[in-house]
Subunit: 195 residues, 2 copies
DNA sequence: TAAATCCTACCTACTAGTAGGAAGGCAAAT
DNA sequence: ATTTGCCTTCCTACTAGTAGGTAGGATTTA
């Protein structure tokens, strides 16, 4: 499966795992070169500059994310279930360390020194995720599954922040289980107010 | 005031502002050198290695943070007020860009490739902040100011995650106001369930 | 044959870190 | 009082290694 992946995809795969480990400044072409057994210059053939590489990487990540969210929407019409699936996805990624943190969350922390072509794409991902969560909360509120104490837009921002913060805490404490603990506490706040 | 600060303090000040901008791998001795008009070798005199520099920096940051939190506790016995002051402090830091994000939150994102002497200190800060928030929430719950839907420890983790995530979102969107919007939404969830 | 892919070999700029000396402050010995 | 010597601070000059990136040739694929 990995052996028949194209070289450029392999490059992006490795780059992504290096970015989630150490951010934009935490990896080099030499690192990728060593990881997939290809020379530095060959990587430059596929991605002339580092900024371009990461820009393409974020585009690919955003596409995958949007496809994934769309899939969740289509699989279940229950907003509560969709939210559970979304958080379950991340729980799995964090538990098996396949993607211990959102690529864009990682890059967002370095926003101030990111090349503009990367920064703008990270912003776009944040916007699209916020929009997805907003419509999810809106629907959930209409179906009386969630009780919102703020505008759906603001609640979505709060939820997104919780998820990103939970990833950070899980990483800081070296405890993957902490992610779902925090996420569940947040869900409880969305559902509890009724009782 | 800055002119009578010791050289090593000036080094730490600059290093801190560089770290919150771009993380551990986002600054170099040359950057500090250029910023305070001292040679690279002189910085190595004060802090032999980069890991040592950042370790001392985190120690200083943690001391300042703990002193600040203690001060908030002493200034007001009202947990609700203490929480407001804590969030107000960060709102100001983010608004005037003096400290747009917690140093340890920044470093935590790079946890996996941090020197152990730095990583352990970052963990310690997270623990001490979580402990402070836990006792704050516990007190608030006893005084019927907060309604907790989970153990105080878990609620504290959720709150801390929200704060860190809010910092990240404010940065990603380039909108300092977003921090307090998210923070207020979180406070509302702590207070609202009663009605 | 032509394009895509990957290579060797190289570039300049920068990385953290070191060796060793100059300048100044300070305190004890003269 | 002045000299001696130590200590701190900062310097110039340098190291080995790494950063992103390039030129141009070889090999593979269509």
């Amino acid at each position: 499966m990995n052996s028949m992946a194209s070289t450029s995809d392999k490059i992006l795969d490795i780059a992504q795992s290096l970015i989630v480990a150490g951010g934009y400044n935490g990896f080099s072409y030499a690192d990728i070169s060593a990881a997939i057994g290809i020379r530095k210059a060959s990587i430059h053939h596929h991605f002339p500059t580092k900024a371009e590489l990461v820009a393409v990487l974020v585009d690919r990540y955003r596409q995958q994310a949007e496809a994934g969210l769309k899939f969740l929407q289509e699989r279940s019409s229950d907003p509560s279930e969709q939210l559970q699936s979304y958080l379950g996805f991340w729980e799995k990624c964090i538990r098996d360390a396949s993607l211990p943190v959102c690529v864009c969350a990682m890059l967002a922390s370095e926003m101030q020194m990111l090349p503009e072509e990367v920064a703008s794409r990270v912003r776009t991902h944040f916007q699209s995720l916020a929009a997805w969560l907003t419509s999810l909360l809106k629907e959930g509120a209409e179906q009386d599954l969630f009780r919102l104490s703020r505008r759906p837009e603001d609640e979505a921002q709060a939820l997104m922040a919780s998820v990103h913060g939970a990833m950070l805490s899980a990483r800081a404490f070296g405890d993957p289980a902490l992610f779902i603990t925090i996420a569940n506490a947040q869900i409880a706040k969305l559902q509890a107010p009724a009782r």
